[in-house]
Subunit: 192 residues, 2 copies
Amino acid sequence: MKLLEERIKKDGIVLPGNVLKVDSFLNHQIDPELSKAMGEEFARLFGDAGIDRVLTVEASGIAIGVMTALTLHVPLVFARKKKSALINEPVYTHRVFSYTKKEYADILVLQKFLPAGENVLIIDDFLANGEAALGLAKLVEEAGSKVAGIGIAIEKAFQPGHQRLLDKGYHLEALASIASLEGGTIRFTAED
Amino acid sequence: MKLLEERIKKDGIVLPGNVLKVDSFLNHQIDPELSKAMGEEFARLFGDAGIDRVLTVEASGIAIGVMTALTLHVPLVFARKKKSALINEPVYTHRVFSYTKKEYADILVLQKFLPAGENVLIIDDFLANGEAALGLAKLVEEAGSKVAGIGIAIEKAFQPGHQRLLDKGYHLEALASIASLEGGTIRFTAED
């Protein structure tokens, strides 16, 4: 997605350790017009899959998730990252490791918000090691639904997540796919 | 806001202890059309205040916050609830108590995403004791900006937050204002 790649080139900051910071428009300060454009692009890419529901995880996935769900006219569900005092109903849950935060977190969704027999589109802001996306996919499958697709705003294609999702047979679409951050230079994978 | 009040009556669940659960459309499963309508209503209510930026707090404020920011053509910033390993830049931070979760959390915003001299609109999903809204207001004022308004999806007007915000002189607008949950019945405050 040209618009996103250009924004990453303009405002993305590369830090040591292959870290790409995009907190000026994607995951702390948010550009709502860009979020809307990304949601519309996800809806276009997965629109033929008969999506019943969009699933993301708090917090950075919510803005693009809600724009995707709005365009597809389906509900959004965001997985929570730990047990809230208010939740004492049956949940689907899975433990995922965050390489960014160097800690485990339990992601969970109330079972009533993941009915069986649906086509679920998973949306997230970043794909690196694939832990969050694979965890969300597990929740969907445990619920008896199908992962109809996984839409990622920015993937670091040189890290394991991309291949892990393809190996599982998922339909993966990344709006911006980064081939390398070496030397502090952002290089995108060549488009088809 | 009629649309929201009707949805609360239809899908809200009252639990013992004056708890109102709206997780089927507001803060776990999200109705994107309703989020958009709420964002447009906030934009209408505060549109004359020359808003430069919308500020909310993760996670439940993000969907309505991004819709508000989209309508107002300004950026959204969401405060994070604890220090991420990626953040090692100057932040504004304030400790707030969650009566729901019975725990303290530090909310924080990178200083570069709260510039001085702006009119900032604070958006959140719930107002009960006012801890989150007052904490966000403190961040704005510490940054040298003005709290141009506080927009809340659902306020429990019988709890202290409503009056605490008015006592500080803030322009408060709640899209649905609940007078009482006694006996499990949802009663809204009379409209002006």
